[in-house]
């Protein structure tokens, strides 16, 4: 029974607690996107003197906030190794529901907003149920619900844009001044939602389990965590974010538009990927998604300012996405 323990470990007590969490691999993945964002800003500042102004940045944030909030839900789902193609369609349906209820049916606008949120959350839950109970791939499930939500939007709206929406639905489009710059409440709400999600993902059990499930779902199950329940929470929360995005869109445009959000699924995936989150799940930071959404916003805005036609903006976005995914692949392969 004599056991001579000869582990290679002369170093004594391991040093640990001092190491900052920020210094670990996660934060590195956002340095690239941040550098890209800053470079883009420098580039456009040199090209156009209208770019680097408070009011233009306020505009970029306004142009970013709808996709930015959808991208939060998208990030949560991608972290679990899923993907959501239905978010723009859910947002459009939710936006049409709240604006039509309030305008055409005279429903109390706050109740209309609440019902819009609930519908979006219910669609998210539906995605989650299909993914967990029938075990269909998220890509297929959300392709299906994309079409369902899209069709419902057009049937329910009768292709009519809803105008004259009441103030409660447009309040988030109002502004307050910081120095010379007018900032919308919607922008603030977006930043608050990002802060909230950062906290949830990095500081709570649920957040860490979301990463773990994207890493190794079997490990999470064996650790005694209810994985299906966790996925349902993620998909439902994502739906709720799409509902909030719907309110932001109505506030920004002052109408309920049945044709809204048709490219938002790809735009939000672009923001997530540009932000350094892995499409394979389990890796990435929510702050990266905000940077990714801003990169897209800055490119759109800047190219427009220097007079590049919008089709080139699409072209450049496409190239950026492929670059970002390629980097992710290479990094992942190296870590194997």
């Amino acid at each position: 029974m004599s056991s001579v323990v000869t582990t290679e470990q002369p170093g004594g007590r391991p040093k640990t607690a001092g190491r900052s969490f920020v210094a670990s691999s996660g934060m590195l993945s956002t340095l690239g996107p941040l550098a890209a964002l800053i470079l883009a800003c420098v580039f456009f500042s040199l090209k156009s003197d209208r770019f680097f102004t408070g009011s233009n940045f306020s505009l970029i944030f306004q142009q970013t906030m709808v996709v930015g909030v959808e991208a939060i839900g998208q990030t949560l789902i991608i972290l679990t190794a899923g993907i959501d193609l239905s978010n723009g369609a859910i947002m459009a349906l939710s936006g049409i529901l709240m604006s039509r209820l309030a305008v055409n049916n005279g429903v109390n606008p706050f109740l209309a907003i609440l019902l819009g949120f609930l519908l979006a959350a219910a669609f998210g839950l539906l995605n989650g149920v299909l993914v967990t109970s029938i075990r269909l791939p998220p890509f297929i499930v959300t392709l299906g619900t994309l079409n369902i939500a899209f069709a419902l939007t057009h049937i329910y709206s009768q292709e009519q844009t809803v105008t004259n929406v009441p103030g409660a639905l447009t309040w988030l489009g109002n502004t307050f001044d910081v120095g010379q710059t007018a900032i919308t409440y919607g922008t603030v709400l977006m930043l608050v939602l990002y802060a909230f999600t950062w906290y949830m993902l990095s500081q709570t059990k649920t957040g860490r389990h979301i990463y773990a499930i994207g890493n190794n779902p079997e490990a999470v199950r064996l650790a005694g965590i209810k994985t299906d329940r966790l996925l349902l929470i993620v998909y439902t929360a994502a739906g709720l974010f799409y509902g909030i995005a719907a309110l932001l869109l109505v506030a920004r445009t002052s109408v309920g538009d049945p044709n809204a959000g048709q490219t938002d699924n790809l735009d939000s995936i672009t923001a997530v990927v540009l932000g350094g989150t892995s499409l394979f799940g389990g890796r990435g930071l929510i702050i990266g998604t905000l940077i990714g959404a801003l990169i897209v916003g800055v490119f759109r805005n800047g190219l427009q300012l220097i007079g590049v036609s919008s089709i080139y903006q699409v072209l450049i976005t496409g190239i950026l996405v492929i670059l970002a995914v390629a980097v992710d692949q290479v990094v992942r392969r190296r870590s194997r």
């Binding site: 391991p14 500081q203 389990h209």
Partner: protein, 262 residues
Amino acid sequence: MATNGVTPVLEARGLVKRYGQVTALDGADFELLPGEVLAVIGDNGAGKSTLIKALSGAIQPDAGELLMEGQPVRFANPLDARRHGIETVYQDLAVAPALDIAENLYLGREILRPGILGSVFRMLDRKRMVAEAADHMQNLKIGIQSMRQPVETLSGGQRQGVAVARSAAFATRVIIMDEPTAALGVKESHMVLDLIREVRDRGLPVILISHNMPQVFEVADRVHIQRLGRRVAVVNPREFSASDAVAIMTGAMAGEKVSDAA
């Protein structure tokens, strides 16, 4: 019986498990004594993994009973077994590679901050988890610098160390390890074998499944030999050679003849 009147920590009687036409367990018995390393060996398909899954709650046997310290128990799922103090190191380790060591150690058992930060804001107590993770690793003499290191940056042996440390930290009765050295090189295998002894010397009995005879005979106190879904012998590795054990395993030597020897 081979147990000499000592009450086994964990015992199984007549376990049966069928998968359609296949009988994975065909009335298997099993005993784990206090403070021992019990190796479970057997040919491919002999039912080792199935036996271990029944002991760790990952599957439910069709017939037979489980006893812990003489008391009948039933495990509906792995969590149930864990609540009884049984921890399992799975062959594929079941770690989340992008999470750090402390997070992996506490996966599913996270510690929240004291007070309102924990109860209302659900905030994790990272400092405490990191400090305690460092203690656990230190106790097992696993030398790793930072508990904040993602597990994917570790070598195979160090990852195994994390998985073992997790089990050792939370197991109060039994640790089960399924082929813990199968994917490791010589040096790293030795590190894991040392870990197994370390755990055993701290008083926890270990069940070790392995195909590696030299390792089994190096570390085990007793060897459970499984064949065709049942236990055919338990041998003392100091009295039997590895080739005898292989002969029993493959049916070339009758197991019944020797099963009392241990």
